[in-house]
């Protein structure tokens, strides 16, 4: 079995499991929508203020929603013993981890990307900013998943792992937040989002390269 087949098989498996548990997928999305929608109610209907805070609000909500979903990445596989079998399979574990993170992103990250422009309209973002918002999330949310996977793997099976994972992962999320929200702000200010998006792309490339391998190592340690 080739590497690509193994990758495809694990993605299919996780998507099938997600289809059997649709409520979990909806959880993340609903959380995201609720958090973003609460801000206009709290801040008040001043349109200029809303337009100004929109990129930050949407990005912070996306970050929190991603973190909330991290608990599901390995926990179920760990609890029922399938994770041990994955670790013992002849395929490279880094590849399987990459497949799991990709499937996780498809079910938790991609819906956020799709709905973010709609939420941006709530904040009266101009159309060009809406595009940049979706694009920045498209590049940024996989980074959140990849970095988060390392934290999720390290805290697997620990009591209070949820709190620990936030402490571990949040500092690493901060650059993604800064450049992600920065891209939208730059687009709104008319200075062009290119630089911010390129930096996000660089984060993605680096985390694609290192995170699966680091996660695989962390999983082996957690299973001992």
């Amino acid at each position: 079995m080739g590497s690509f087949d193994a990758f495809a098989a694990i993605v299919r498996r996780d998507l099938l499991l997600a289809m059997r548990r649709r409520s979990d997928v909806l959880n993340t999305l609903v959380f995201f929508v609720i958090v973003v929608s609460l801000f206009p109610l709290g801040v008040g209907p001043e349109i200029n203020t809303l337009r100004q805070i929109a990129p930050g609000v949407v990005w912070v909500a996306a970050l929190l929603a991603s973190m909330l979903a991290l608990g599901r990445l390995f926990a179920a596989d760990h609890a029922d013993g399938t994770l041990e079998q994955l670790v013992l399979s002849p395929q490279p574990l880094g590849l399987l981890v990459a497949g799991k993170v990709f499937a996780h992103w498809l079910t938790t990250g991609l819906p956020l990307v799709a709905i973010a422009p709609v939420l941006g309209i709530q904040f009266d973002l101009p159309p060009e900013s809406l595009g940049v918002l979706a694009l920045s999330l498209m590049i940024g949310t996989p980074v959140l998943g990849l970095i988060g996977a390392v934290g999720a793997a390290l805290t697997l099976g620990l009591r209070g792992g949820g709190v620990l994972v936030s402490l571990l992962v949040l500092p690493l999320y901060v650059p993604v937040l800064i450049f992600g929200a920065g891209a939208v702000e730059a687009a709104a200010a008319g200075t062009g989002a290119g630089a911010n998006l390129s930096l996000l792309g660089a984060f993605l490339a680096v985390s694609l390269f290192f995170a699966p391998w680091a996660t695989a190592t962390a999983l082996r340690i957690s299973l001992e």
């Binding site: 498996r13 013993g81 002849p90 399987l96």
Partner: protein, 206 residues
């Protein structure tokens, strides 16, 4: 050939065992026995490479398994305490998906036959969530039907929760694998007669 040399296992502060060693040639069955907490599961996890021993090494055909990990895992079938089946998937999916990942060729038809052999006809299309403990164990054991190519089986309490008839068929599966030149290591608390020609017993915590 599988060899373990001078294994020591420490969990927390406690030394579970030290100086454990064995050599198994193709076609041998090793039964690991001992009271609860004597380190049987830990020993099996060390043999699989899931747990690093405090000292000593596992050699597969003379090579340390940490050096030839991927090749070794291709030869290994492990059944742990947990069944490693997904509650949301059906019995058939629980065979086809993981065995495909493990590099086997499993069709839904052959999966149905393997489940039928262990007395699960009529339950193949139900999510395993609704099955009883013993039936779930059978789904996990049905995987072994596709692992004949693996030269090493490591089974942790394979007979637990099974009825007498299922115990019999699993014992026969093990005996066939051993007589076909496989190496099987298992732990059990039950007295099960396994008709393998060559068997050895390792007592821990004695």
């Amino acid at each position: 050939m599988l060899a373990a040399t001078d294994l020591e296992c420490v969990r927390g502060e406690r030394c579970l065992f030290r100086g454990v060693g064995f050599e198994l040639e193709p076609g041998m069955l090793l039964e690991v026995s001992g009271p609860n907490g004597s380190g049987k599961t830990s020993l099996l996890r060390i043999v699989c490479g899931l747990l690093a021993p405090a000292s000593g090494a596992i050699l597969w055909n003379g090579t340390d398994i940490r050096k030839a990990a991927e090749e070794y895992r291709g030869q290994l079938a492990y059944l742990g305490h947990q069944n490693a089946i997904k509650d949301d998937l059906t019995g058939i999916e629980n065979l086809v998906i993981p065995e495909t990942l493990a590099g086997g060729e499993v069709t839904p038809k052959s999966a149905r036959e393997a489940l039928g052999d262990l007395g699960l006809e009529g339950f193949e299309h139900l999510p395993t969530r609704v099955l009883s403990q013993g039936q779930k164990r059978r789904v996990a054991l049905a995987r072994l039907a596709f692992r004949g190519r693996c030269r090493l089986w490591v089974l942790d309490e394979p007979f637990v929760a099974l009825d007498a008839k299922a115990v019999r068929s699993v014992a026969d599966m093990v005996a066939n694998q051993v007589d076909a030149g496989g190496i099987v290591i298992l732990t059990t608390h039950q007295e099960v007669e396994i008709g393998a020609r060559r068997r050895a017993i390792l007592r821990l915590g004695a």
